[in-house]
């Protein structure tokens, strides 16, 4: 069963002559353990899709189902709990709180969810260790490089028992090596059983996904089919040359 499912989700803003259709009957299913990338140009509805999947916005029509439960059937409190416990968000701008250290940024969602400061700190440190920057735990965001800040943001997204990872252009303005590191971390979370959706216009980022869905003018227009094995690719490219 899919962990995240969007069923014929549409979203429009405004009304009448000024109405803008951001999403139109989008269907998307993401299994646990799999990474799906959504590619499309600016204004194609990528970010709207992500905010609706993460219950930050309501669809105009259609349904979002997470772990078998429809968001429409949930109270505001239930949705808030779902966002705190189950969903991890990674944004382009990292969105770290400047007055908190790296580990405090990571452990904050757990503390807000009622975990003791000590336990939240331990989990926060474990998440930072997982993304390879435990030694920077007591630094503030402005003391970290762009790559380190995004690692903290990913640690915050995967801390605790989060099963759904939603990332919007997660490599931001990072260079290629740091972007690759970001995708490896998201992939590691998937291998541990999370379901992840990454929206991006960057084909190199999208190519880390198991499946790439193409969005145009708010509609899913196409998707990749499961690629053959890497070995098949090597055989294909093993041609003689001059």
């Amino acid at each position: 069963m899919s962990y995240l499912e969007l069923r014929q989700v549409s979203k429009s803003y405004g009304a009448g002559a000024t109405e803008v259709q951001a999403l139109c009957e989008v269907a998307l299913a993401v299994e646990r353990g799999s990474l799906v990338a959504v590619m499309g140009p600016s204004g194609s509805g990528k970010s709207t899709l992500l905010t609706i999947a993460g219950s930050l916005e309501e669809p105009t029509s259609g349904e979002v189902v997470i772990d078998g439960t429809s968001l429409a059937a949930m109270s505001r409190n239930d949705k808030a709990r779902l966002r705190r416990r189950t969903i991890g968000y990674v944004f382009q701008e990292f969105n770290l709180l400047a007055g908190l250290t790296a580990v405090e940024n990571v452990s904050l969602p757990l503390e807000l969810d009622g975990l003791s400061v000590k336990k939240a700190h331990t989990a926060g440190m474990a998440a930072l260790a997982e993304v390879g920057i435990a030694e920077r735990a007591s630094h503030y965001p402005d003391e970290l490089s762009g790559g380190e800040r995004q690692r903290v943001a990913i640690a915050r997204a995967v801390v605790g028992e989060r099963h759904l990872l939603l990332a919007d252009e997660p490599s931001g303005a990072l260079d290629s090596m740091n972007s690759e590191a970001v995708m490896r971390m998201i992939l590691t979370a998937c291998k541990r059983g999370a379901a992840a959706v990454v929206v991006t216009h960057d084909a190199q980022l999208a190519s880390w996904a198991d499946r790439v869905v193409f969005l145009r003018d708010g509609r899913v227009v196409d998707q990749t089919v499961l690629p053959p094995s890497p070995e098949a690719l090597l055989e294909e490219s093993s041609r003689p040359h001059r």
Partner: protein, 192 residues
């Protein structure tokens, strides 16, 4: 890739045998480009004929494998080749570009759909190359460089498709009566 210059590069490290050179060539390209023994020896013969390398004839007389070493002229040739940029002054004749340009003229065909077919194919290829990178433990430096080169090459084509898609969309909005999209005023000379 020039086999000739790659062999000179390996010989610049010191004298080597033909089979050894073949093995080093394959390893240096992450085994993506296999090379047959015949190609190695033919190239070595030509390099020797051009006095860019020389062989150890005594080894041949004794019935053992021939060792090759680079000459001073060979080093100069290698230095010149390394620092000479490949000719990129003229756009290559790119089949994909031609297909997209041709689609603008075909009635009943959506150029955006044509672009998407190619975009999906390229992203699928990129997924396959990226899978080769997934296991860092099996991923040596040379192989990483080769895979990166391929990913950046494919990525640049996807970016061009994305830009073409956006440019055509904007052109259609600005001139709704135009049937064929923007007029290309400059004639580009394609290389054969």
């Amino acid at each position: 890739m020039s086999v000739r210059h790659a062999l000179l590069a390996f010989l610049s490290e010191g004298p080597k045998y033909g089979l050894q050179l073949r093995q080093e060539f394959e390893e240096s390209t992450g085994e993506v480009w296999p090379l047959n023994v015949g190609q190695v020896y033919t190239t070595l013969q030509r390099l020797e004929r051009d006095e860019l390398i020389e062989s150890d004839d005594r080894g041949e007389e004794a019935g053992t494998q021939k060792a090759f070493r680079i000459t001073e002229a060979g080093r100069e040739e290698l230095d010149t080749w390394l620092s000479t940029p490949p000719d990129m002054t003229e756009p290559p004749r790119d089949e994909l570009v031609i297909k997209v340009l041709a689609a603008l003229h075909v009635p009943g065909i959506s150029v955006h759909d044509v672009i998407q077919v190619h975009r999906r194919y390229l992203v699928e290829l990129m997924q396959q190359w990226t899978r080769l990178k997934e296991d860092e433990a099996d991923f040596d430096l040379t192989f990483a460089l080769v895979v990166d080169a391929e990913l950046f090459r494919l990525d640049s084509v996807v970016r061009w498709l994305d830009t073409a898609d956006g440019r055509l969309k904007r052109a259609a909005l600005e001139a709704p009566s135009a049937k064929r999209g923007p007029v290309i005023r400059r004639r580009l000379v394609a290389r054969r």
